[in-house]
Symmetry: C2
Subunit: 145 residues, 2 copies
DNA sequence: TTTTATGCAAAAGCTTTGCACGCCC
DNA sequence: GGGCGTGCAAAGCTTTTGCATAAAA
């Protein structure tokens, strides 16, 4: 979550040479609030709720522009649709339960060791911003198959 | 890769109480050959090349049936479309370069530590079958942004 | 004024689904 | 023979794209 609520979005856009529009400010705010858990569609819904008239196509184009500019990251959590997160926010990752869909955040520190290992063995720079790990949550793991 | 090329697929199907059809045998064979790197569409293409007439809808339905039966796993590698892999094959994971798309296999052993940590901290059973890690490969990491 | 973003709508791409026929058991 | 699987086609859903208009710089 960015500290200053609204002026900062403007600054972020300007810093990346993107035009400041009400739609973009709104989208950035919703992404920020979403903490990396919202899909493009969900972002659109939240925006419509408070500022009707923003077209979903605009959401997609804006998300793409923000991603290309390096302002947001895109992570595939489910089968369909990715979630978006502001770069510079609290760095965390997701444990996604494949049975009940529950999403748990885990701290980035837990993955530091793995990243180092992968870099050492393969020269591969694992993305540090947002990671999705699939499996079964504690509750579902105890249920019968 | 399953040792015995064709009879084993039949056995696998029967073991899961699924009917043995030419389409399913073909699909299993292609998944097996694909080593966990093929999408539903790619599987369809490979099958069409050697056995025209198999409908893509059948591919999707079969993949779903195999997945539900626990015979194959589904992993999201890119933004769109998942890849499929025979359960019981060589256990490995993928490093996916977000710039050039290169996919590198890594051995499951490297992830054992992380799995243990996650289980310990969250009681979350990270999927052991197929993991996708995004980032930049050695080559692309050296290129300018 | 010039450039870029938006709204609108159509199209595209992938996946799912209903139905009738045919094959597997 | 009974039930499941397949082909076919249509529908569904998410995402992309072309174009004219509107807004930002």
């Amino acid at each position: 979550m960015v500290a200053d609520p609204f002026a900062s979005y403007r600054q972020i856009l300007e810093a990346h040479h993107l035009r400041v529009t009400p739609q973009r400010l709104m989208i950035l705010q919703v992404i920020d609030e979403g903490q990396g858990h919202l899909t493009a569609e969900a972002i659109g819904e939240r925006i419509s709720a408070r500022f009707p008239g923003v077209h979903q196509g605009t959401i997609y184009r804006t998300l793409d522009a923000l991603r290309v500019a390096g302002m947001v990251t895109e992570t595939q959590l489910g089968e369909r649709s990715a979630v978006y997160e502001l770069v510079g926010g609290h760095r965390h990752h997701h444990l996604v339960c494949e049975r009940c869909g529950q999403v748990t955040e885990i701290d980035d520190g837990l993955l530091a060791g793995l990243r180092a290992t992968i870099l050492e063995h393969f020269g591969f720079h694992a993305r540090t911003d947002h990671f999705a790990i699939f499996g079964l949550c504690a509750h579902c793991a105890g249920l019968p198959t």
